[in-house]
């Protein structure tokens, strides 16, 4: 890899000002996540949650996935780098998802529910 080649590799990478803007976006999303947590905890006079738990969980998960994608695409440069790196990341995530599904499927078979 020559210095010129190395320079070309980084030609599409964001500049420091853009990195800072991304950090601000990530901070705002984190603040929204935490706010959602407290909104989800809020209860009415009868002790019931004011917002459905599933709605709060979904919103937090979506925001978390958004933060994940922003860091991977811009800070880890997958948006600008060779596609092969994306395949490694997506492949790893897909396999991790399969591992999770396998473990979830094993749980009832092993009868590890409330007995532990």
């Amino acid at each position: 890899m020559t210095a010129q080649h190395g320079h070309d590799e980084h030609a599409g990478h964001p500049q420091p000002a853009e990195y800072i803007k991304i950090a601000v976006v990530l901070t705002i999303i984190t603040a929204i996540e935490v706010a959602l947590f407290y909104i989800g905890e809020a209860k009415d006079g009868a002790g019931h949650r004011m917002i459905a738990e599933g709605l709060v969980t979904t919103a937090i998960m979506v925001l978390s996935a958004l933060k994940f994608a922003i860091v991977v695409m811009w800070y880890m440069h997958l948006k600008f780098d060779h596609k092969l790196f994306s395949y490694f990341m997506v492949g790893g995530l897909a396999l991790a998802g399969l591992v999770m599904l396998a473990l979830l499927a094993l749980l009832p078979i092993l009868h590890l529910g409330s007995e532990l």
Partner: protein
């Protein structure tokens, strides 16, 4: 090392540097590692038959600050990379030290959190929540520790003139590992701390610690 020998060393059939390919292969495999630990934590959520439980001991404002600190360390890491790419060696060291210090702040926060939890009765072998929580977040902390060591090693190498601007890839590889540690925490912060956990139908003898 001359630029000619450097060029020959990294010439590959794919045109991609082997080191970068290797770090991405490692990060992909590490997804499996954390995937297994996260799945285990999620499966056993709300299955503890002994206290304390998550909602009794979590300190969300405190953990939110830790999450913010780690997010900002990703910013300082990319600023370190940008600095070396424009040949600014002093800037590289400043941002690498900043990243390492933020990592140390996160680790200190985690140490304090673990200590507090143990004092409140949550131990590695006390209940399912304790076992899965400490293993999952502890392994993440171990990754952060390795990352901090890499960062300060890079600072030392840089001070000896070992990172020329033409070889910014060395910093980029360290950065990829550091950002991976950050994205794992993004997932853990949401799943472990923020997503409401089912509360098992058990009576807790000790008073719940309100934060």
């Amino acid at each position: 090392m001359s630029s000619v020998s450097h060029s020959a060393e990294h010439a590959t059939t794919t045109g991609i540097d082997h080191r970068k390919l290797l770090i991405w292969a490692f990060l992909g495999s590490d997804c499996l590692f954390f995937g297994s630990l996260i799945a285990t934590y999620m499966i056993y959520r709300g299955k503890s038959i002994d206290c304390p439980l998550p909602h009794q001991i979590y300190d969300i404002p405190y953990t939110s600050i830790s999450a913010f600190v780690l997010l900002m360390s990703s910013l300082t890491m990319v600023l370190a990379l940008a600095a070396i790419q424009r040949g600014d060696h002093k800037g590289l060291r400043v941002w690498l030290v900043s990243t390492g210090m933020l990592g140390l702040v996160f680790l200190g926060g985690q140490f304090y959190e673990f200590t507090t939890f143990v004092h409140e009765g949550l131990t590695l072998s006390g209940n399912l929540f304790g076992s899965t929580f400490f293993v999952l977040t502890g392994f993440h902390g171990a990754h952060v520790t390795v990352g901090v060591m890499i960062l300060f090693s890079l600072v030392l190498v840089s001070m000896r003139g070992g990172i020329p601007a033409s070889d910014s890839l060395t910093v980029e590889l360290a950065g990829l590992y550091w950002h991976f540690v950050d994205i794992v925490w993004i997932v853990l912060f949401a799943l472990v701390y923020l997503v409401p956990s089912p509360v098992p139908n058990i009576e807790c003898a000790q008073a719940a610690v309100a934060h």
